[in-house]
Subunit: 208 residues, 2 copies
DNA sequence: CGGCATCCGTGACGATACTG
DNA sequence: CAGTATCGTCACGGATGCCG
């Protein structure tokens, strides 16, 4: 556990970087926006992070009020890490950062890891309103809690409740939306995304 | 010059962090949003950064298209660093980060450095429209280019042109606005900020 | 087996000194 | 003034070990 290295500048951006500026921290937040995760799952979805750095960051984040550690009830008793409301407040930071980073995303490099739910953040920007959206790719399935005030913002696997809309799209289309080349609405109109469901979210996506 | 350590993740937020995730990089951007700066000035306004790290970051940022290095015409020929449009695109990132960091700013610690123009980012969030605003504190003077499409977003010293509005306030008020405790408009109404000028910006601030 | 702690080699960082 | 050189320290990444 690091003794909190600080920039020691009276500036809110510098203070934010004191808390989330360390390597891996914001990517851990990205993972935890998908809901409570176990240590091993975090380690699997953050390729490259070493075990001690991950453990150290999780301790720092808990000390700083960004995450909490909770023991799951048996069976399968294990610790899970989840964001506090304060930690969830970093969603706009990750969104803004991701929006700026789109210009540098380009094509997937051979060395690049991919996880289906990494496309949740760019898709979320394309959706207004509130509701649950289930997304199916060939590579996997995830779901979005659009307009969520508390609780996870997205998650792996099928939606835990009946979704308001379902999207089916291929990886190329998803990547193009992630790169910002195509708006989700335009991809729907071009038939590259299949939208099902009766909720306002589904209707809004289908309307011209 | 580092050989570009990357997270190697096909995710736009991770790509952004590949470019600006290194220690000091975003704070250098914050400094350069104030316009072209010389190496020595950057070093003076980034207390704690070592000379070699600053030089290394500036090289990386130039290689990555965030900054350019330009030689000033004599007299006083020197190199200045300035942001490219791509680098200026990081303004929303710093603003979002700063907004989140406000909750952690608190009171000034004895070890905290302060510069007048570090209050430019929070003040900028409080201002709509477009125009030049000059701000006078006891500690120093700076100016804002509200709604600037290109060129510096703020700068040290008096405004280079006749400003549309002038604000005079004390450090406490400025810090309170920076911490998000007081809205600028409310501070004006409470008489803690003096607004002069005839432009729409000044009028908007004075109106109830 | 999940959840770390320990060890180790490498590289990044911070401070100071020095140079064109 | 604008960096480069040097050096000690610390953070990081990879592997392995321990312990419930």
């Amino acid at each position: 556990m690091s003794p909190r290295r600080s920039y020691d500048q009276y500036c809110s951006a510098a203070r934010a970087l004191d808390l989330v500026g360390d390597r891996w921290t914001l990517l851990i937040v990205r993972e935890l926006l998908a809901g409570p995760r176990r240590y091993t799952d975090l380690h699997a979805d953050l390729p490259g992070v070493s075990t001690d750095v991950l453990a150290s960051r999780l301790k720092d984040m808990e000390r700083d009020g960004l995450t909490t550690r909770r023991r799951l009830p048996p069976p399968g008793a294990a610790y899970v890490y989840e964001l506090t409301p304060r930690g969830r407040g970093l969603l706009p930071v990750l969104q803004t950062l991701g929006e700026w980073g789109q210009a540098a995303l380009g094509d997937r490099r051979p060395t690049d890891a991919v996880r289906a739910h990494w496309f949740a953040l760019p898709l979320l920007r394309e959706l207004d309103g509130a509701g649950v959206v289930e997304v199916r790719l060939d590579e996997g399935q995830f779901h979005l809690h659009v307009g969520a005030e508390d609780g996870p913002v997205y998650g792996d696997g099928p939606a835990p409740v009946e979704p308001d809309a379902r999207l089916v799209l291929d990886a190329d289309t998803c990547a193009a939306v992630g790169r910002g080349e195509v708006r989700l609405r335009d991809a729907v109109r071009a038939g590259r995304v299949t939208v099902t469901g009766d909720g306002p979210l589904a209707k809004a996506l289908r309307e011209v």
